[in-house]
Amino acid sequence: MSQVLTRDQIARRVARDIPDGAYVNLGIGLPTLVANFVPHDREVIYQSENGILGMGPAPEKGKEDLDLINASKQFVTLLPGAAICHHTDAFAMMRGGHLDLALLGGFQVSSDGDLANWSTGDEKSPPAVGGAMDLAAGAKAVWVLMEHVTKSGEPKIVERCTYPLTAKSVVDRIYTNMAVIDVVDDGLLVREIIPGMDFEALQARTGARLRLANDWKPLNGV
């Protein structure tokens, strides 16, 4: 019997892959958890689109500063060595290819690496995009963190996205609660699968054709 990863376990798995010295932007939601699990011997510099480079963890209760929030509008702190910039420069960092890595949530990823993560196309609620498109288009590498299927069991990895696109052909790697999958030139290559699930079972929960890497490994949540 296979056990899917918890959200914390997905975040912990991703954290293992973030290189020492990387400039990283964490998207809203699941990606935010990753900062909790980066090994202490690695120096990772977090950027926030509202003009923070070198963002630290949440402040102690009572030490919140109204002028110091992150892209999710949560209170944060600055690390020694942090820098503040204005919005246009923050987006030059993002769009100009200066960030090593963007970790983003996703509604859907296609086999070409198209990403849909900003709108479900619901016309009743006002659309909101924020920095999602700039980040997806600009970072050197884009990793998407998401559940493998929706709450109703629909695949989120698909041949073609049916939700409105955030960016085309930008996703490099997908971390789900069932697998780690690379987006390569000719499709989707499975690197890791959770113990107890075989490739056919994973394929059955995926809306696009997968290939299994020769050197695939079990995906351990730890």
Binding site: S48, E49, N50, G51, I52, D65, L66, D67, L68, I69, K73, L78, I84, C85, H86, H87, T88, F91, M94, R95, D114, S119, K124, S125, P126, P127, A128, V129, G130, G131, A132, M133, D134, A137, G138, P164, L165, T166, A167, K168
Partner: protein, 228 residues
């Protein structure tokens, strides 16, 4: 003598005309010029186009301005902030026009407006709904979308410190859109916590040079934005 100081918030927003395009600084509740916005509400200009990252939270400042019904259109990247009740109601009722722009494109369009550029090509939004109907171009093998400048008739900005020439410093992440909006408006109006003597700001620490600023007003104890 060059003196951009004005004594009151009323003087600061004097002359804002009906139909103006107004750039308003802030991201979330940081950097929002709460007192200038309330002065604008009291001033009464209508049929406004507002350019701001969010569309207000709670019932104060930007939300209070929207609630007056004097805003025809808002250009922003993320109107759906938690607590954006006033905007949501107006939008659902079809009483406000929304132009949704990716955040970096919003900022860069204003920079282009302030820097005298006719636009720029960006990879952001290529192939998405937000690039529909826009000119695209392949440059060195990559596809880009043409985005045009945004200029304001006025900008309302919150900064930390100014001198009488209008040089500005900001505080932490409240800086956000301030420096870009200051460049992009014909008349830039700034509220600061403190106005100091000329020379009171180290030239190396000036973030917005005074040439981009028209009026400064001191608001020593600004209220937080986005209150219920």
């Amino acid at each position: 003598m060059l003196d951009k100081r004005v004594n009151t918030l009323e003087d600061a927003v004097a002359g804002i005309r009906d139909g103006s395009v107004i750039l308003i600084s802030g991201f979330g509740n940081a950097g929002i010029p709460v007192e200038l916005i309330h002065a604008l509400i009291d001033q009464g200009a209508r049929d406004l186009t507002i350019v701001s990252n969010n569309a207000g939270a709670g019932r104060t400042d930007l939300s209070a301005l929207l609630a007056t019904g004097r805003v025809r259109k808002i250009i922003c990247s993320f109107p759906k902030t938690s607590g954006s009740v006033v905007f949501d109601e107006l939008y659902a009722a079809g009483k406000i026009e929304l132009e949704l722009v990716p955040q970096g494109t919003l900022s860069e369009r204003m920079r282009a407006g302030g820097a005298g550029l006719g636009g720029f090509y960006t990879p952001t939004a290529v192939g998405t709904d937000l690039a529909k109907g826009k000119e695209t171009r392949m440059i060195d093998g990559r596809e880009y979308v043409l985005e045009k400048p945004i200029k304001g008739d006025f900008a309302l900005i919150k900064a930390e410190r100014a001198d009488r020439w209008g040089n500005l410093t900001y505080r932490l992440a409240a800086r956000n859109f301030g420096p870009t909006m200051a460049m992009a408006a014909a008349c830039t109006i700034v509220q600061v916590r403190e106005i100091v003597e000329l020379g009171g700001i180290d030239p190396d620490q000036v973030i917005t040079p005074g040439i981009f600023v028209d009026r400064v007003v001191a608001v020593p104890n600004p209220q937080p934005a986005g209150q219920p």
